[in-house]
């Protein structure tokens, strides 16, 4: 056999080259595949989504807004628009791009897939919240309607996506819109966040970073041109109007108890007992159901019983049973002592 050092070096180099070529997601092969996927279909679908989005907000879309949204040149945008007109998905009137009924149905289908996929990521995978949107943006073009229906059925036909947006039904129905922008909220009233706009990304991630989520209750303290001030879960928040317009809220007539002064289950020390007052709305679907299944409902007494050497998970005595939960879960459970 030849010199082991040589073999070692050659082996390492080969391994390195193979990694560079085939590394999942980042390798040369993966990148090449990604490039192949950028096709006309994606542009068309994205264009339809843009038109639907503007229509929904009562703004008219133009070639200019389209080229901006798709980050392509004006000429290319014109080509896409023409293409869409040819297959009668849109009409063009005085420079304005308008969806035809077919085009709207198509757009809703894409939106359905997008929101379903976000729900899937949120409920069944551990993908981070800030990645949901981008991933769904890619995935929406590769799932056909049948697959979408199967996915929906498996998840129990979710009615809302994790941002609080309604998911269109398979036949393209959507509920009538409710709620208003946070900027229009009245001082002293209690609202619930019904929707967080996930675009532009920069603002969205700022909102997420502040810990706001759909279903969260807010009590408005102050609304001026410069800022909107409110109390949520016992903490005071201040938003600029720019950010606040991305939040849609609906007034709550009989306000549920605002989770003020309440501690989380994770703050319970070993041996202490607490009484559940609720589960944070940020804990959704499958996760939430699991907790409810264990009997964690308002009024349930919980004793923090056993702490392993790593301090996480901790085992709690819940309705006579010892159940281990991770901190990430117990952070969602509000208690009073």
């Amino acid at each position: 056999m030849n010199n082991p050092l040589e073999t070692l070096i050659i082996g390492t180099i080969i391994l390195f080259v193979l990694c560079v070529l085939f590394w999942p997601g980042k390798g040369i092969l993966a990148n090449w595949k990604k490039l192949q996927k950028q096709s006309l279909k994606i542009l068309i679908e994205d264009a339809l989504k843009h038109l639907y989005d503007f229509e929904d907000k009562n703004i008219s879309s133009t070639l200019h807004s389209l080229s901006g949204y798709l980050s392509i040149s004006g000429d290319e945008a014109a080509k896409i628009a023409q293409k869409l007109k040819d297959i009668s998905l849109i009409d063009i009137h005085n420079e304005k791009l308008l969806l035809t009924p077919d085009g709207r149905t198509y757009a809703l289908k894409i939106i359905r897939v997008h929101r379903l996929w976000e729900s899937y990521l949120a409920d069944e995978t551990g993908v981070k919240e800030k990645d949901w949107h981008l991933r769904a943006e890619e995935k929406e073009h590769y799932i056909d309607q049948e697959e979408a229906n199967i996915l929906a059925a498996r998840m129990g036909n979710p009615a809302y996506d994790p941002h609080g947006d309604p998911i269109p039904t398979a036949s393209g129905d959507l509920p009538v819109k409710k709620g208003k922008h946070l900027t229009e909220a009245a001082v002293g009233k209690v609202y619930k966040i019904v929707h967080i706009e996930d675009e532009p990304i920069a603002i969205y991630s700022q909102i997420v970073a502040m810990g706001l989520y759909p279903g969260m209750q807010l009590k408005i303290v102050e609304v001026t041109k410069e800022k909107i001030k409110f109390v949520a879960e016992g903490e005071e928040c201040v938003l600029s109007p720019l950010i606040a317009t991305n939040l849609t809220v609906a007034q709550i007539i009989i306000p549920e108890k605002i989770k003020k002064d309440f501690k989380t289950l994770s703050s319970l020390k070993i041996g202490e007992e607490g009484e559940v007052v609720g589960i944070s709305r940020a804990c959704r679907k499958q996760q939430r159901r699991r907790l409810l299944d264990f009997g964690i409902v308002p009024g349930t007494k919980i004793i923090s019983e056993l702490q392993g050497f790593s301090k996480d998970p901790i085992a709690y005595k819940i309705r006579g049973t010892l159940i281990a939960l991770r901190k990430q879960q117990t952070d969602y459970i509000y208690i009073k002592k």
């Binding site: 498996r154 129990g156 009615a159 499958q286 409810l292 264990f294 309705r319 049973t321």
Partner: protein, 269 residues
Amino acid sequence: MSNSLIHNCETCPAHNVGNLTKLGINMDNFDFVVALAGNPNTGKSTVFNALTGLKQHTGNWPGKTVTRAEGGFLYNNKKFKLVDLPGTYSLLSTSTDEEVARNFVLFGQPDVTVIVVDSSRLERNLNLVLQVLEITNRAVLCLNLIDEAKRHSIIIDERKLSKDLGIPVVPTSARYDEGINELLKMIYEVATGAFVCKPYKIKTESKQVKNAVEKLNGKLLQAFPKLPNVNWVALRLLEGDQEIINAIRSGDLGSLEIKNFIPLLEEQT
């Protein structure tokens, strides 16, 4: 409903061990299908083994059984097919690990559903019991692990419980083969219609839920007038259960459910 709720007569001839023949995996031409449902780690597989003589794996941790197992036994000349199911916390959830059990209880149309509970944690186990009772009119509650409950000085008045729930309640200690005869007897009575269950139905105070369920109930009954567990169907619809949606769409809901719910007694008369 002239039956007394619980027969505690250990000397009656019907209680003879001789009435049970464990048939192992032989379950051809069975007369009744019996499902074993319950929370994880409550001793379902142990009960299964005691009745069929099989060696289904048991273990002291939740999630030991993950696939469904079948076995047979003969009791009073009737052949029973017994189905051991994975443990499940709830029939309302969508988790995949509970799918096998959920689907069998919902769509497997067992003649009797035996709900095995941990006696020392009754309250929590009742969650599943109440859900099962929404679906089926023929169930037996098996208060298993009664030895542990006794050790922790927990006393359960099974007559009261049986009256409240409207189904037979049998305390057992499956691991030590205690109470198995009584359990068999009640399974037999419910299967043949000698005992008619009047299952407890979930009462809700939430206006929201009530209104929604009532609205759907009305519509459902119009389309499927004989639907006996209309409440459950409405609840599942509100949860977005695809199987129920499909059954409504195809119109199968009526036939499927009714077959399951005509007690044998009525059939015979």
